[in-house]
């Protein structure tokens, strides 16, 4: 029996509780105290973070505080965003427009190449990438590049039913619910997964949802008179 165990261990098929990796070395607060608590401090820094969603459900709002804190001396790169960027939105986030680069790369190999180059260049802080496919080697390359350039990659992906086993530092699934955004941890380095949290919409969109108004829904949009 012992020999069998030894053999399994040599092939690295056994996980021991003592091997639990320490959580991230550096964390950056997300700006939402409940989320910080869930993630054990905040976003892992200089790494790749996956955010799975169907889009348009506050996924950028989640990382907005972290992006703001990156400062404006360094570039922010958006690779293959799903629609046209709104310049007024970026200005609201106190970002100077000429420090933002949008890349259009129809081929996914080009997009990954660009992401890797930007991450390791040392002149970018945040890279936002929209893509659906990624394999283990590609992820490792991106993680190394992020560590080398001390930058951060946010990887946006369509929510999938089938989960791939990739060694993300952090992978979150975002699902909109009535009360707020449901955040589920799919993978977290050095922590338990399958934890959930619902972040109220009022916290995510304070500019147009007031907490007291949240319960009140219009059944039909009010018609305005034609002037």
């Amino acid at each position: 029996m012992n020999a069998l165990l030894q053999q399994l261990q040599n092939r690295q098929l056994i996980w021991q509780a003592s091997q639990t990796e320490a959580p991230y070395e550096h964390c950056q607060s997300t700006g939402f105290s409940a989320l910080d608590k869930l993630l054990g401090g905040g976003w892992p820094q200089h790494n790749v973070i996956e955010l799975q969603s169907h889009g348009a459900c506050a996924e950028l709002q989640l990382i907005q505080k972290a992006l703001e804190r990156s400062g404006s001396e360094l570039l922010q790169i958006w690779i293959n965003p799903p629609a046209t960027l709104c310049a007024e939105y970026l200005l609201q986030q106190k970002r100077s427009l000429h420090q933002v680069l949008q890349l259009t790369a129809p081929r996914s190999a080009d997009a990954l190449w660009a992401a890797e180059l930007c991450l390791k260049s040392g002149s970018c802080m945040d890279v936002l990438l929209w893509q659906n496919n990624l394999n283990l080697t590609q992820l490792k390359r991106l993680q190394l590049a992020a560590a080398q350039g001390q930058s951060q990659l946010y990887f946006f992906r369509q929510a999938m039913t089938e989960q791939q086993l990739l060694p993300w530092a952090l992978s979150l699934q975002l699902t909109p619910a009535t009360a707020g955004l449901q955040i589920r941890i799919l993978k977290r380095k050095g922590g338990w997964q399958q934890q959930e949290l619902v972040l109220p919409w009022a916290e995510l969109y304070p500019q147009f949802i007031k907490p007291e108004l949240q319960q009140k829904h219009y059944s039909k949009p009010p018609l305005s008179r034609v002037s």
């Binding site: 169907h54 889009g55 348009a56 459900c57 506050a58 996924e59 709002q61 990156s70 400062g71 360094l74 570039l75 799903p82 629609a83 046209t84 960027l85 709104c86 310049a87 007024e88 939105y89 970026l90 200005l91 609201q92 427009l97 000429h98 933002v100 680069l101 949008q102 890349l103 259009t104 790369a105 080009d110 190449w113 660009a114 180059l117 930007c118 390791k120 260049s121 040392g122 002149s123 970018c124 802080m125 080398q148 350039g149 001390q150 930058s151 699902t175 909109p176 619910a177 969109y205 500019q207 147009f208 949802i209 829904h217 219009y218 949009p221 009010p222 018609l223 305005s224 034609v226 002037s227």
Partner: protein, 497 residues
């Protein structure tokens, strides 16, 4: 003899074309890793043949086969039947000579090109600068060695004397005139480059060495052999200064390179390109400039050509940086026909300024340097993705969201627009706005609004819109508007993310 003695150095390059072939092969094989597919095998006997069917340059294998310079084609072919022949290209050699002169121009101010593969350098003004003749010579030797061409050299007080001795392969760097004169006197008459008629007449008199001629009083010689002899003697003794045209540094950079063989894959071009970028680097260094834009012409069979534009936003002069940029562009390039010649033209350059990468960048830990600056990064991205695929968002002074946001050139500073920012704007815009059908409209929940935008009333097409924030059944947050002219219709303008 004047008090200030002039000294000249003559550099003679006996096999420019052959050396060039060898050099090119080395760089090509080093980079593409395949050496055997060439049409020419430089390890087998090979000769450069002149227009009069004489062997002008031979590689070592050909010499071993018993061939000698000046041999006719017929006898050469009978001695060595697998001899490879390459026609002599005087024009190309002249170009190489010009390149060498440009290379040496960094070290010596007065250089003149000679028609028989030689360069004349005026030493005397340079000696003070380098603090001695030997230091200067060592510097030159280093440069010549790097260039990789075979050369012979000699020094003398007259350019003609230096040339005669260098072509004899004397290879002495001396500043003692008596030794030079001694060597000159021992020079056989047939190598003295006298006009043919004169040489024949002198030999008939029984003179074999130049020294024999110099012993005869000059007046006697001139009386007997006429004006030609006088001119020759004046050049030999330096009585009349030599007419030399010194080179000027080139105004434009335009270099072409014949390829050794037809290249069908674009990655094979990197080897020859490296050579061209090396020349560019030299050109830019001499002028203390940076190149921003280059044109690369790939000349192909049947007079076709493909053209590439290489850009660098930051400006580069180093060959390795340009090589990286061109590598990315060549990867994307499909060659229509095999390439036979490369041409590199400098289109835009500017003075060099102190380039810096943030050494102590706030976000990088100590000991980690920035790999690329923002502008370098931009050039690399543009080289691979294309210039139009890399953009920065920009804001126009317009109320309508779809007209306010657009894209501008990457990293270009933009004019600030006065006014307060609207509070509620989504991250992404739908352009043009999407009309929603009645079913979709019924499923929407509106959470915020209206915010009214009235625009264009001072023009023909006025727009009055009420904006709302809504959520659809999938829970997505939408930015919607209703046009007041048709209040039943809702349009989708953007997504909150």
């Amino acid at each position: 003899m004047s008090a200030r003695m002039e000294f000249w150095l003559y550099l003679y390059f006996p096999q420019l074309q052959l050396d060039k072939l060898l050099l090119l092969q080395n760089t090509t094989t080093a980079l593409s890793g395949q050496g055997k597919s060439h049409h020419l095998d430089l390890t087998a006997p090979l000769a450069i043949v002149g227009a009069d069917h004489q062997l002008l340059q031979l590689n070592s294998a050909a010499r071993q086969a018993g061939l000698a310079l000046g041999m006719g084609l017929a006898s050469a072919a009978s001695l060595c039947h697998q001899l490879q022949l390459v026609p002599h290209q005087a024009e190309q050699e002249q170009q190489q000579l010009q390149q060498l002169a440009q290379l040496l121009y960094q070290y010596c101010g007065d250089i003149a090109l000679q028609e028989d593969s030689g360069l004349v350098l005026k030493l005397s003004p340079m000696l003070a600068l380098y603090g001695g003749a030997m230091q200067f010579w060592q510097q030159l030797q280093q440069v010549l060695q790097q260039a990789g061409y075979q050369y012979h050299f000699a020094t003398a007080q007259q350019p003609l004397v230096a040339r005669l001795l260098a072509q004899q392969g004397w290879d002495q760097f001396l500043l003692q005139n008596d030794q030079i004169q001694q060597q000159l006197k021992a020079l056989p008459l047939q190598h003295a480059q006298l006009p043919d008629k004169l040489q024949e007449q002198l030999q008939r008199l029984g003179l074999t060495q130049l020294g024999d001629v110099l012993k005869i009083p000059q007046a006697e010689l001139v009386r007997r052999f006429g004006v030609e002899m006088l001119q020759y003697l004046q050049q030999l003794t330096g009585a009349k200064p030599a007419l030399l045209q010194f080179i000027q540094p080139a105004e434009h950079f335009e270099q072409q390179l014949e390829l050794l063989y037809e290249m069908e894959r674009s990655d094979q071009l990197l080897g020859p390109l490296q050579h061209l970028f090396g020349l560019l680097q030299l050109y830019l260094q001499q002028r203390d400039q940076l190149a921003y834009q280059l044109d690369l012409c790939l000349l192909q069979r049947q007079d076709q050509q493909q053209q590439l534009q290489l850009h660098s936003a930051q400006g580069e002069y180093q060959s390795k940086d340009w090589l990286k940029i061109s590598e990315l562009q060549l990867e994307r390039l499909k060659l229509k026909k095999p390439v036979i010649q490369l041409k590199l033209i400098l289109r835009r350059s500017g003075p060099r300024y102190a380039q810096y990468k943030t050494l102590f960048a706030g976000h990088l830990e100590a000991g980690k340097a920035q790999l690329y600056s923002a502008l370098q990064l931009l050039s690399l991205l543009q080289a691979r993705l294309g210039k139009n695929q890399v953009t920065s968002p920009c804001l126009h002074n317009d109320l309508l969201p779809e007209q306010a946001s657009s894209y501008a050139g990457a990293l270009e500073p933009q004019a600030a627009i006065a006014g307060t920012l609207a509070a509620v704007r989504p991250a992404f815009l739908v352009d043009p706005p999407l009309a929603l059908d009645t079913e979709q409209q019924h499923q929407l929940q509106l959470h915020y609004g209206p915010e009214r935008l009235s625009s264009g009333w001072w023009q023909q097409h006025s727009q009055h819109r009420d904006y709302y924030v809504g959520q659809n059944t999938q829970g997505q947050w939408l930015w919607l508007f209703r046009d007041l002219q048709q209040p039943e219709q809702l349009y989708l303008q953007g997504y909150f993310s």
